[in-house]
Structure formats: structure tokens, C-alpha cells
Symmetry: D2
Subunit: 136 residues, 4 copies
């Protein structure tokens, strides 16, 4: 089952309780900290596929964010429980696109998308392990 | 001079030294933390116009990020000095668009753009002080 | 049961998965971010007692940290699962002392202690709700 | 002059403008984020001695916090300018103690102290470069 771990269409859902330290003076989850949730959701998506991101890094594969977009449709507040849905949109040997939705009680609060590039320890683009992107 | 504080075309430049705590395991400035620099650059843009963002909040004007995009063209590393350029692209009674460039030794590392909406203490859209957006 | 919510001896245990963004260039949980876990553990301790910290703040009770000590006996690394134990050591009308232990697979990694003071919206010390500190 | 870079008594002073993202819902600098300022102050203390912390890490010397204490005597708020004073209290081949004071307009707001241990890439204690701790 690990062979299709990163195939387009794979999804994962992770719950987060908004921590006090993550909020701003207005009591809203600070806009920068959404990216922490999305990053963690990617980690859990990989884990469900049997891959630990920390193992990838130990093997010299690093995934750096190249492009990111986000729309904050409704605020998220301290102590709320939200659900992050992450989905692999496209994947190739050196890059992967994810799409994200955050919902609170089913209501869509946030939409986002990222492009990540696989690089080696030298920071140069590198083909990721074939099991991550190959359909077969 | 304060009257044109938010007019399109206004710019501000702020230097940042990348702190250890802002970097990830790869030694790169973590992609989420760029937004802290961009937010601070907006604060300094306002300050140069004679407006303190904290005064706006005390008067019940809050600026929340509605939309954000960023492209990480080159990594930024621990202890590097970078310069953030922020520019007001468009401004109206309830929203303002900014564009950003980050440079290191003159070289462009990052491009970003945001749309902010002015809201009141109740979180509902609110017309910002006229001095911020009026051309005259 | 709510009446003894903050009594000395009350404990709570919360699990945390160390996120990528919480680690430093050495791959360790950054020493400052332990405090985020400890704060969240206090929130959960209150919640188990039937009190939501955000409700306290809405009612004008804020708990600010006055004194804090921590000993990092063993490092905690990215993606590890740790358990935070928090315990109310002493509580009075205006202050509360907590002690903390963090364990990974049962092994003690960290010990900490804090003193919090209850203040009002004006930042001045304030008697906390009696249900929080009264033994009866 | 580099030879006495870490000698007891060496001090350094660094100014910080409190950023919006560093504050909590109460408008105070979040108690965990003081540690970011103190860490940065240590980095600048080293830099003034001609040593870049990132060079130390590249050479395989890492300084991890073993023990930390802090007393928050007065709150620090968003957008305030504060001054961090750091001083080397004791230094030996494998550990260094620092003391810190934070002041706002000369008024003492915070006192802290840390013990750091030098470790190698394997996380085991390691003698730091002699130039850092030797008196002569």
C-alpha cells in the first residue's frame, strides 16, 4: 500500500485545538500559524501512507515550500477545534501540489494550496523516492 | 503629511536579522515565519506615515488578512540579514492590498502579496479612518 | 465537581506530537516552545474541571505568568510523542503554582514549575473566582 | 581580543521592538517568546566577540539550554521597545551561565538566567573551543 502514498487524490484529515499562544491580540488564530497546521497535516498524510517525514530527511530528502496561497474566509478563534483536510493534487518526481480546507463544525473557514519541491542536503532539486510519486 | 499615509505607491523598507528560533531543521527560515516579517513591515510602513497600528486597534480598527500569496524563490538562512520592501498596491475604504519583496544583498529571494480587510471589534467589516485611504 | 477545580493535587495529562515548526536547526524541540505545551496542559487541566480558560478571560480573569523555572534533562526531538503531566501545587485567591513533568515513553525528559497571578482587564491583581481556589 | 569572548563579565545590550505576532490575546508579549529575545541577545554577545554562532554549529559545537529561570516583574506590550542586557556569569569548558535583564525606558521588567551546555553533533557533552572560555 505504501507504493501509492503520494498519488494524486490521497487525502488526510487532522484535528487541531487552537492553542492560546497561537492567537493574536484580537483572539484570532494568527494568520501565519495556519501554515503550521497545514504542514503538520502533510506530515500525517505521509504517516498514513507508511512514510515518516523525519525518515525522509534522514535519508537526505527535504521538501521545501516553493509557492503558497491561502484565503481566510472566516476567522478561527482561541480554543476552537478545527479540522484540516489535505489532498495531493499533483505529484511528479521533484514536486508535489497540495490543496487544503479547514473546517469548523463542518463550515469552511479557510482554503489553501502549496507547491513543494524536493531538494537534497545541498539545497538543490532532487528526485524524490519513487515510492512517493510513482503510480505503480 | 499624515493624510496620505495609505495611498497607493507608498513604500517602506525594513531590515531583519534571521533569528535562530525562526529557522527549521534544515537551517532555513521557516516558510510560515516570513509572514511575521511582512506583518512587521506593514507596521513600520504605517509608523512612517505617523500612524501606530496599536492606536488603530485601541480605536477599534483591526486589519485582518483575507488573502495571501507567496513565492519562495530562494531560501533564507539563519543569521542572514534580509530587507523587506512593502508597497501599498491598492486601497479603499475597507480593504488594502500590499505587495512585498524580500532581498538579500540585493538579490530577490521572495515575492508576496496580501489583501487585508478592516473590521471592528465585532469582527464585521468597517470603514477605516479616512486619513488612511483618502487621496485628499 | 467544578467546585474543587483548582485544588492542590489536581493533575492532568496531555499528549503532544512535536511538530516540525517547533524544532530548531539541531532537530530538537526549541527550548522556548516547551512553554506552549505547558500552557496548553494548564488549559486542559481547567477544562477537565469544567472550566474553559477562554470563558475566564471573557469574564475578565487573566492568568499571567510571574515566575517560571525549567530543567531540560534530555532533549525532545521532531515527531516524538511526549506526555505532559501538570499538577496544581498551591493555590490561593490571587495566585497558583503548578509543577510539570514531561515524559517520553515513561522516561522523564523535563521538569518545570510556574507561578501564575490572576489579573483583571486593567492588568492589576484580582481575586480569581472562588470556585477555582476554594477547598469547599 | 577574540580570546576572551566568553569570559565572565562580558555583556551585550540589544534592542527589540515587540512584534504583533509575539503578543497574546491580552496584548502582552507572550511569556514563552521572551526566550527568543534572550537567545538572540546571546547570539549578539558572541558576534561582538568576533564569533558567529552559526560558524560554531558548522564546526559541530551546539549550545543547548539545560536550565532556565525567569521572573516577569512587569508586563511588556505590543510595539514597545525593550532593551535586553545579557551577561556571562560563569563559563567553563562545557557550560556557560548567563544572566539577563530586560528594561523598558530604564525600568526593569524581567530578570532571567540560563545554563547552557556545549554538545557535539551526537548530542553528547563536548568541550567548547578554548577561545570561548579560556581567560588567557
Amino acid at each position: 500500500m505504501h507504493r501509492d502514498s503520494g498519488q494524486p487524490g490521497r487525502t488526510c484529515t487532522v484535528d487541531f485545538r487552537v492553542r492560546y499562544n497561537e492567537c493574536d491580540a484580537f483572539g484570532y488564530l494568527h494568520h501565519a500559524r495556519y501554515w503550521y497546521y497545514l504542514e503538520q497535516a502533510r506530515t500525517e498524510l505521509l504517516r498514513e501512507s507508511g512514510v515518516r517525514y523525519r525518515d525522509l530527511e534522514e535519508q537526505g530528502y527535504f521538501f521545501v515550500v516553493y509557492d503558497a496561497r491561502i484565503r481566510y474566509k472566516r476567522p478561527i478563534r482561541y480554543d476552537e477545534l478545527v479540522t484540516v483536510h489535505v489532498r495531493v493534487e499533483r505529484i511528479g518526481p521533484m514536486r508535489v501540489d497540495h490543496a487544503y480546507e479547514i473546517r469548523r463544525d463542518g463550515e469552511l473557514t479557510t482554503e489553501a494550496a502549496t507547491t513543494l519541491v524536493c531538494v537534497g542536503r545541498d539545497g538543490k532539486p532532487r528526485t524524490m523516492p519513487e515510492t512517493l510519486w510513482s503510480a505503480e
